[in-house]
Symmetry: C2
Subunit: 339 residues, 2 copies
């Protein structure tokens, strides 16, 4: 197959607060030619992540942030179309952080081969990828839920949250999800079997709603969102609670508003709050893949994807992340293939 057309999404300007459509530009691009030791990859799926928002800020002294006029980059799954690389062949499927672009050249150093027979290609960006790893390690290494404890997960209908609630259920915990909207609530309660779900769209007193959903307080709070939801949860933690700081989606658009958390709370409850990035556990990815893969094959771990078609719609998919529209892993499909 010889590609004859390339496109990419660039950062047109740095967003102020919530990202806007005009912050991004879809432009035509040349199809790069792989040199010796390189390969040409056709991107099949883009992962759309709230964490990309931080990389759109004006860079500080050193930073891996995005440059204005340059393509965004993100975690992607693609197919090798031309290879001059010894370790990869045309037809291979790979995972890599790539430009938001139909075709990209890679030197293969950070590419990992993925197998559609082990798990569907798209799930390497979701439940058996970074979001799944976040849920797995955050819960296992920081939250450490014990049977009978109450685990509350914010952003429960997102890719990380959805995996976290199910893993907590498997530990025989009382699991309470926080999500926005009746459809998500019904899914979490009826499909994933949560003990209670708080719909933050349907209450103007989140703290009371959460209090009622957690009659024994909160032992583990797995935080994906920050802000007011987290304030409500922190007001209900038990002694020796563990707070997993995985994401702070509600804060990414307003980096100067630094939340309202009072560390005093941690003293009152002898509580632990720990942040992490999944790369901390990079050498244990195989462990996570094995466990999550097994759970999926056993039918004990569900996942949900929201797949948008076409690179031109990727910016809107990113913008929607901050509108509380996320429901499962947000992906963009750039090309249809038969796996």
């Amino acid at each position: 197959m010889t590609p004859n057309r390339n496109q990419m999404v660039t950062l047109a300007r740095r967003p102020q607060g919530k990202p806007q459509r005009e912050d991004f530009l879809l432009v035509e691009a040349v199809i790069p030619k792989p040199a010796d030791g390189e390969m040409l990859i056709q991107t099949l799926y883009l992962s759309v992540d709230p964490g990309m928002r931080g990389m759109m800020e004006e860079p500080k002294s050193y930073s891996a942030g995005f440059k204005v006029g340059q393509p965004l980059t993100g975690r992607s799954v693609g197919r090798v179309v031309v290879s001059h690389h010894a370790d990869f062949a045309a037809g291979d499927f790979v995972y890599e952080r790539l430009p938001w672009q139909l075709y990209s050249v890679s030197d293969g150093r950070k590419a990992k081969r993925v197998d559609p027979n082990v798990a569907p290609l798209s799930t390497y960006l979701g439940v058996v990828g970074v979001p799944g790893f976040c849920a797995y390690f955050g819960l296992k290494e920081i939250g450490k839920p014990r049977a009978g404890e109450t685990v509350v997960v914010s952003g429960a209908s997102g890719a990380v949250g959805m995996t976290a609630v199910q893993l907590a259920k498997l530990e025989s915990c009382r699991v309470v999800g926080i999500a926005g909207g009746a459809e998500k609530v019904a899914y979490l309660r009826d499909e994933l079997g949560l003990d209670a779900v708080v719909n933050y769209h349907a209450t103007d007193d989140l703290r009371t709603a959460l209090d009622q959903a957690c009659p024994d307080g909160i032992d583990v709070y797995f935080d994906n969102v920050g802000g007011d939801i987290t304030q409500a949860a922190l007001s209900l933690i038990n002694h020796h609670a563990r707070i997993v700081i995985c994401g702070q989606t509600s804060q990414y658009n307003h980096p100067s508003e630094s939340g309202k958390f009072a560390p005093e709370r941690l003293i009152q409850k002898s509580a632990l709050m720990q942040g992490f990035v999944v790369y901390d556990y990079e050498d244990r990815n195989d462990e996570a893949v094995a466990r999550l893969g097994q759970l999926i094959r056993d039918g004990r771990l569900q996942h949900r994807e929201n797949i948008i078609e076409g690179l031109e719609n990727a910016p809107q998919a990113f913008i929607d992340l901050f509108e509380g529209k996320g429901f499962g892993k947000q992906l963009v499909r750039l090309a249809h293939i038969t796996e």
Copy 2:
């Protein structure tokens, strides 16, 4: 000895913001008579603690807070003057939480005998008491400093801070203290041998001053104060930093202003922040006494006390805690004795 006069300090009204002299009242009191199984204790030393501020707030649903019109209570060392208790004899020295009062009755259940031959009586409220335990367990169980790491301690001239910096030095860390005023800075640098001391009175750019004092960033931040000083420290933490939340003195007078901490920082640095109270380690007090006592006897751990004379001056001693006047352990001596 038969006491013929008693006095106590009561809470006259709940403080608004910073405590004022008028929030407290010195009143005459009857000398209580110990019943069978009780004893009469003459208080010798009162501990003046910033943590008492929280107990002056309007109580929530359940609370061990102070009542208006009733005496304050605090950690105290006293001498048994009359005993109808099987386990204590007149002349024994005891540690207990007692009313701010010259003479009090105790049923002995929470009294602990202390020995002036092991350590001076006053130090059971300081370096071999709760402040010392806070430094010891906070550093050992949460901060976990390793040789060569940079440890920053806020409130470094206070009873907890002063012990923490010395324990960190003993672990061969680069130790940086934060304190207010030239006298404290000189003491910390010259007497305790800190690698650097930041005088927050002498700079209007604390972050830069701290940055210069910590060329390799901050690995352990032992926090006694919260607020702006903590914001500056958190902006300089290294990957896998440990933040020990021991006290938040700067916040106690303004419980509605909830600081400015953004948990996002913990993600960026995979950092751990943990609160604790010393009672979490109650069953290990002997370990702390043994270690701290040994260090004192070896001349490797210094302590400093600021002793005010007379119950009538106890309220002012408490008020001064929030004026940054604290330098070592703040105590009030109610009676002179020969130990």
